[in-house]
Structures are given as C-alpha cells and as structure tokens.
C-alpha cells in the first residue's frame, strides 16, 4: 500500500517540478527581454502579454470545457473599467489600487456566477450557453454607454492617474502575471479536474449520470476565469492609461476566440502564442497593411476551423507524437500514465435500511403533447432482486428508465429511491440518491483512458484533486470484478476509443458500479455482444444481485437471457403495466404471448 501512494505522490511532485522549471525559464526570458527589445516592441508586447492572459482563460473555458464563449472580454473590460473608474473618480494610491483590483475581481466573479446560473443548467443546449456568453459583452458595453459622463461613454476614460513606472517594469509585471497564470493553469489541466473538464466537453450527459455536478463545475470554472480575466484587464488599463468600451466588447471577445482557434484550442501554450503573435503583428502592420493583415487573419481563421480544428498547435503536437512513436510498431496503441486499482468497502453498506424499498414507482405517467408514453406505472423494486422489463418496441421501456433517472422528464406520479422522493431533480442528484444507469448506446469518453474513466466515476464519492493527478482509484468489489472479468484491469492506460464493443460495455458497467448505486438501471446491456460475452454478463449480474444485494432493473429483448437470470419480470405494453410476476408466471401467460404476437388484447383474453 505504502509504495503505491508514494509512487503516486512522486509522480505528482515530478509534475510540479517540471512546471516550476518551465516557469523559471519563462521568467528568465521575461526578465532579460527588455534589454534586447526596442521600446516600441516592448510597449506592444506588454499589451500582448495581458491579452495572452485573456486568451488563456478563453482556452480553459472553450478549449478544455467546451463552452464556446464570446464573452471573456466582458470580464477583461470589467477589470479595466474598475481601474479607470476608481482612479478617476475616487482616488489614487496603493490602497485605492488594491481596492480597485478587488472591486474589479468581485464584480467580474459575481457577473460570471450569474451568467453561469442562467446558462449552464442541466439540459441547456450548447447553443444557448454560447448565446448567453454573447449577450454578456453586448449588455456590458451598453451599460458603459449608459454611464454617460461617469464612464466616459463612447470616448472612454483616459489620462487618469496611474503608476507611470518604466516600460521595463511594466513588462516584468505583465510577464510575471502571464507566467504565473499559465503555470497554475498547466497544473490544473493536468490534474483530476482537468480530466473532468475534458469529460464534460466530450460527453456532458454521461458526466451528469455519473453524479458529477456539471453545472457547478462549469460555473466555478467560469467564475475563476472571469476573475483572472478581470485582473488582466486591470493591468492593461493601468498600463495603457486608456479605457474604452471596446475593451469589454463583443469584437474583442471574438478576437480572443480567433487567437485560441488559430493557436490551438486545449493546449494552453498555443493560444498564448496565438494571442501574442497576432496582436504584435497587427500593431506592426497597423500602419502599412492593416486591411490586408485582417484579411489574412480572417482567411486563416476560416481555413483552420474547417481543415485544422485543433489549430496550428496540433501540427506541433502531432509532430511530437510521431516522434515519440517512432520506435513503436504499428498496432501498438498508446497507453496513458499508469493508474492503480484499490479496493474499497463502499460507504453505503451500513446505511441500508432493510424495510425501505430501494426504489418505488407510483403512478408514473409520461406524456409528450397528446401522446401518452407511460400511463400510471406502479412497481416496486427489492434489494437483491433482478427485475426484467420486457415489452414490444415502443412500449415505453427506455422512457421509464429516463423518467426514473431524470426528475424533470415525467409528467406525473412519484418515484422514491430508498424512501427519498426524486421530485424534479436533475440526473446528478438522483445518482447521489443511489441510482446508476447504463445506456442503450454505450456512452463513454473517447479520449480518456480506462483508468481516467473509472476515476471520473468516483468523483461523487472520492472527489478530485485540483492540481495533481491521483495515482489510485478506489473501487468497490462489484466494479473490480467486472474489470477482472473483462480483462480491463490489464488495460487501465488504454484510451477508451480503442476498446472493443464488449469491453466498452464492461467499462460502462464498471463505471456505473463505481458510483455505488443501490439501484441499477440497465438498458439492453447485451445488445451487440457475442454469446460468451452475454453469458459472462449474465453471471456478473446474477452475482451482483445475489452477493451484493443490488436491485437491478433490466431492459432486454433476448427472452431466453431474461428467463435465465431474472427474479421477476414486468411486462409493458403501450405504456401500461400489463403484468408483474415471477418468471414462470409471465412466461406461461397467454396475455403476454398475445401481446408479443401482436394480436388484439380483447381477443386473447
């Protein structure tokens, strides 16, 4: 045990050391640069460095978390205006400067939090979130205009008292800020949280169904990036001594997207270089060829989006990857950093009250417009029991699972998990109550390794580290068993896109089990599997129920499979519960035969 933990902490401290060395090198460059750069270049670079911080925040929000944000510039503008307004109207001095900085950061954070609340709720389409980030700078600029004389309106504020330090000093300040923010961000994206961001970007729904509080994480990230953006804006304003509405506007917001797209989203370094490179070149060309340059950038942007979506940095990274793979044969697939499995007893074992049903559904109804998909379903699941749900296509089976796992889906009726009403809760809260769900189409995270996926599944119970990557994953016995049964425990470093269909199913099941559910909802788990794989899954499910006391609801079409492993069967037909009984009762029922044969119900009975 001891060596596993020490190895993990050794790896994470190596990561920290590597980052620190990188930062030190960058700082050295910053400190010496003013000596060999001319005044104009230094001037231009200072502004570009502050904008680089802005680009960094955009990369975190868009490149890593997948939120297309037009509005990071709004936070930049808030920071800038905080500086200008305080210095112009109230006072100047070290105390005032700190106050202004705090005001800028707080207002930005508050705004980000409000926007996050409005935009990142469960079920919000990515388009809607983007629209909200689009509306933000537009509203902000109009507010600035409405400020009339106070905010300087269209002309902005300039000539306010500020620190007229030498250009070299400002260069160091801007450079240090950028290196600091970049280092922290670098460590962050390489930590557990970084993996979570990638997971959210790739498959937000799956994250919700693993109990990960997606909305809260997105909002938290947005707030943090907003605060950092405001700090950069503050510095920009203090240096340039001018603020104008453009600093918080939509055009700067889209420009920052262009920097990130061209530099390479999701790489941190790419966007920084993109921002600095494009900004500096614009300044140099603004005299001679301003419009040709804008044209070139515009064309490059369109081309990159279409042809090279990961930006120019992807050329560099794929080159690097080819270099690293040069000794490896074809067919050998890349493995990520190692991860170790640890067994845990699970917290839930003691908290179970045997008298309360793990799940109770009462009069569940689901209507879409005039179409009634589920009508008054009442059924109770019991611990240690596998209940199969069967019925012809369109009977409402998947809808039933959806209504159980997502509180907002149903139109009427109650669902109680271990005595707790699910009410109108979103999926992640219901996972918290103890419901685990697997999907008809395996839903995983392509670019994450098996180990990462499992780590993700443990988020709700074990949390995540912010600046280091955990080396171990603690899993309950059922999950460990599945991993051993499918051979996944030998493939922890493999990216999940390379798994076979059967292994993907196994991984998904393991992930769901890792959340330590009381109730397991499985939607056609054997679809697409070979006969031996099917048998294996059957054994696993039987053991889960018998040894670990889970309550399993299973949707299946393979009636033989159902007959073999079920304790109870429930038959759905046209949204109504037709029959709820033991295997023998259902199999021998004439009603069921008639339903499956498609005969008229009246004629059959």
């Amino acid at each position: 045990m001891a060596d596993i933990t020490s190895e993990a902490s050794e790896r994470s401290s190596r990561q920290v050391w590597r980052t620190a060395i990188g930062a030190a090198v960058a700082l050295a460059i910053i400190l010496t640069a003013p000596f060999y750069l001319d005044t104009y270049m230094t001037n231009v670079l200072i502004r570009a460095l502050f904008l680089g911080v802005l680009a960094l925040t955009v990369d975190l929000v868009w490149g890593y978390a997948g939120i297309l944000t037009f509005g990071q510039s709004a936070f930049f503008g808030i920071g800038a205006y905080a500086c200008a307004l305080v210095f112009t109207h109230w006072g100047f001095g070290p105390g005032w400067a700190i106050a202004a900085l705090l005001i800028g950061v707080l207002v930005a954070a508050l705004t980000a939090w409000l926007v996050g609340l409005l935009s990142f709720y469960h079920g919000a389409s990515p388009l809607y979130s983007s629209i909200m980030t689009l509306a933000l700078p537009i509203v902000l600029v109009q507010i600035i205009f409405a400020g009339g004389r106070f905010t300087g309106s269209s002309s902005g504020l300039s000539g306010f008292p500020t620190y007229y330090w030498s250009i070299d000093t400002w260069f160091i300040i801007a450079g240090v800020l950028l290196v600091l923010v970049a280092s922290v961000a670098w460590l962050f994206v390489r930590s557990d949280y970084g993996r979570i961001l990638v997971a959210i970007r790739e498959n937000e729904d799956r994250c919700a169904y693993l109990g990960i509080p997606v909305s809260r994480i997105k909002t938290g990230l947005f707030v943090a990036c907003g605060a950092v953006g405001a700090i950069a804006g503050f510095g920009y304003a203090a240096f340039t001594n001018v603020v104008a509405p453009e600093l918080g506007g939509f055009l700067l917001g889209t420009e920052s997207l262009i920097w990130v797209a061209l530099g390479g989203r999701g790489t941190l370094i790419g966007p920084i270089l993109g921002a600095i490179g494009i900004d500096v070149t614009s300044s140099y060309l603004s005299g001679s060829l301003p419009f040709l340059w804008k044209f070139i950038v515009g064309v490059a942007f369109v081309v990159v989006i279409i042809v090279l979506p990961n930006g120019f940095a992807s050329l560099a990274t794929s080159g690097w990857r080819r270099y690293r793979m040069r000794g490896v044969e074809a067919g050998d697939v890349r493995h990520g950093p190692g991860i170790t499995l640890v067994s845990t007893s699970g917290r839930r074992a003691d908290a179970v009250d045997p008298t309360v049903a793990p799940i109770r559904i009462d009069g569940l109804t689901c209507r879409y417009g005039s179409l009634t998909v589920l009508d008054g379903i009442t059924v109770e699941g019991r611990a240690g029991q596998l209940l199969s749900i069967v019925g012809p296509n369109g009977a409402g089976k998947t809808t039933l699972m959806r209504c159980i796992s997502n509180g907002t889906e149903r139109t009427g009726g109650q669902v109680a998990v271990a005595g707790h009403e699910i009410g109108r809760n979103s999926p992640q809260k219901i996972v918290g109550l103890g419901v685990g769900r697997s999907f008809q189409n395996t839903s995983l995270f392509d670019s994450l390794t098996v180990g990462d996926c499992l780590r993700l599944a443990r988020f709700r119970i074990d949390g995540a580290r912010s600046f280091v990557r955990s080396g171990t994953v603690a899993l309950p016995e059922p999950a460990l068993e599945i991993l051993k049964a499918t051979g996944l425990d030998q493939q922890l470093g493999l990216e999940s896109r390379y798994l076979s269909h059967g292994m993907k199913r196994g991984l998904e099941l393991a992930m769901v089990l890792a959340t330590e559910p009381r109730v397991l909802l499985l939607d056609e788990p054997t679809a697409g599997l070979t006969k031996p794989e099917r048998t294996a899954i059957g054994h696993v499910l039987t053991r889960l129920v018998a040894e670990y006391g889970l309550c399993v609801f299973l949707i299946e079409h393979d009636l033989d499979f159902v007959r073999e492993i079920s304790d109870r069967i429930v038959v759905l037909h046209q949204g109504k519960l037709l029959l709820d009984g033991t295997v023998d009762e259902v199999v021998s029922s004439d009603l069921v035969k008639a339903v499956y044969a498609g005969q008229d119900l009246e004629a059959a009975s």
Partner: protein, 367 residues
Amino acid sequence: MHGAAAQETVKIGIPVGLSGANSVVAPSVVQSSELAAEEINAAGGILGQQVELVVADDGSGAQGAQRAFDSLVFQSDVDVLISMETSAARNAGLPIVNRAGKPFIYTSFYEGRSCSPWMYVDAWVPEQQVMPIVDHFADNLSAKSFYLIGSDYDFGRGMLEFTRSYIEERGGKVLGEEYLPMDGSDWTAIISDLKSKNPDALITSTAGGAPNVTLTKQLRNAGVTIPYGNLAVDEGTAKNMGGDATGIFISQSYLTGIESPENQKFLAAMKAKFGDELKTPNDLSVPQYEAIYLYKAAVEKAGSTDPQAVVDALPEVSYTGPRGPIQMNKQHHTPLTMYMGQVTAEGGVEVIKTFDNVDPGEQCPNL
C-alpha cells in the same frame, strides 16, 4: 531614443480617422496635409530638410488612437504630431504624447478645456462657435425653446453642456437633451421625442461624419423642419447629405467662399494638385494645412526640431492662411474669425454674419 542624431527628413505624424465615424472627412485632411508638405518641400523644406508625412489610422476612437500614437511616436519616431481627430482619440493619445514629450498640434474644433504642456490647438472651441447660432435663433428667429441632440462622448456632451448654459443664461428653455453612442445610427426614438416636445429650434453636436448624415437623413424623413443648427458639420459633409442639408445653420472658422487672397491661392493650389479627386476643403482640413506651416515657423524660430524648443516657440509664431492670421497664444488656443452661415440647396454655404477676432476664453488657465 530621440532623433538627436542627424535625420534626413522632418517627420510629421498624422493620426487620423481613416476608418470609423471620421472617415468621411479624413481624406480631405490628408489632402490638405499633402499640399502643405509639397509646398514646403518645393520651397526648400524646414531648416533645409524635406518634410515627410506619416499617416496612421486611429479608427476614430480611443483604442485605435492608442495604437496609432504608439506606432507614430515609438516606431516611426516622428518629430511632431499634427492631426484632426475625434475627442475620444485625442484623449487616448494625449497620455502617450505627454509621456514621450512630443509637440502635438490638434487641428480639430472641439469642446474645449483639454490641456497639456505639449498640445496646441488652432481650431475653435465652444466659446467661439456656439453663441452666434443661439443668438441668431433667439434674436432673429424668435426661438424660446430648444432641443439638443448629440453623440455621447466628450465632444457631444461638452458642446451641448456649453450650449445649454448659454441658452439658459439668455433666458431660453431646453426641452430635451438626448445622446446616442458615437456609432449609433438609429435616432428614431429621439426624433419621436423631439416631435412630441415641439421645440422652436434644434441644435445638434454629433461626431464628425456618419452620425451627422444619419441624423439629418432621419430628421428630414420624419418631416422635421424647425431651424436646425449643427455644431459639428462642415461644408464637405453637408455636400454629401445632398438636399437633406438645405437650411442647416453652421458656424465655422472656414468657408470656401472666404474672399481673401490666401484662400484663393490655397483653393487654386488644391484644385491644381488634386483635380477631380479633390475633397472640398473644410473647417477640419484647413486648420491642418495651417498647422503644418505654424510648425515650420516654430522650428525656424527655435532653430531646431528639439521638442521643448519647438513647444516654447509655438505661441510666438503666427501664420496667415486661408482663415486669416493664426497665432496660438491664448492659453495654447487661438483667436479666430468666425462665419455663421446657412447651407444652400446647391450644397454651398451662404454667409449670414461674420465675427472678427473672437477670443477662445479661459481654456487652460494653468498653462
């Protein structure tokens, strides 16, 4: 990094709004600058050195001005900045001018009270321009109530603030004072408010080119025909507005109809140089022409292009140009002859009254 070492040319930096609100008038400013440079070079240059113009686009706004000034001051290392710009651009450029210590002659009319030891202004301020129009409306057109419309930035607000206080001093009433951001183009709500309040006269002060045109177009489209004084339009823009501009009252320090020999010579030279491409010289481009000559005079008086020496010499030199004699000796501003006129249907301006030697008032008491 000053140009202390021998330079081949005297570099004049011209940041101007090639794009944005001022883009309508910028070409005329560039033209008059080019004529001045050509004439000076033909006559031997300044202190034997040729004049070189470096033009940069300030986007008619603060951010663009910052880049333009940075580029001119630090990259091109010009000897002086002479330019017509929006107040937003000027305010953004001033800190850079102050930091670098370059002489700066501001050639655009503006709202007044912008001060810097390095900046001189050879165009008019509200004290010189507003009063004739208000007096004419009140005394000759019996206007007792006024409505004010402007662009929401220093110029718009500054001019109308001055106008309002002058109107109220005279016993008139201001029924409404409304603003749109500088690049706003939808004046519908404001025009409807104007019509409902039914004032006797309208006075506007928008940013240079586009806002003037959109406002006037929309006013005429809405059937507004009360006396209309425009504090910010020049002859060239008025021509661009076509029939819509007929009847607008303006108060300027330059009109093409001025009959002095200097103006005739100037107009002939402009026509000869630019032919069909000529943009009508106006109250924004002529001060630019004169400023370049003023700079020449100051350098010759100081004996060098050293910024401090030039700045000390500027109030002491004068130049008689198309607008008459100009000397920036009143707290960095200059007394001017003002003409009040009305735009005719052909796009020209008919002069109604002339005011000689109008004092700019207390602009920069601390300089």
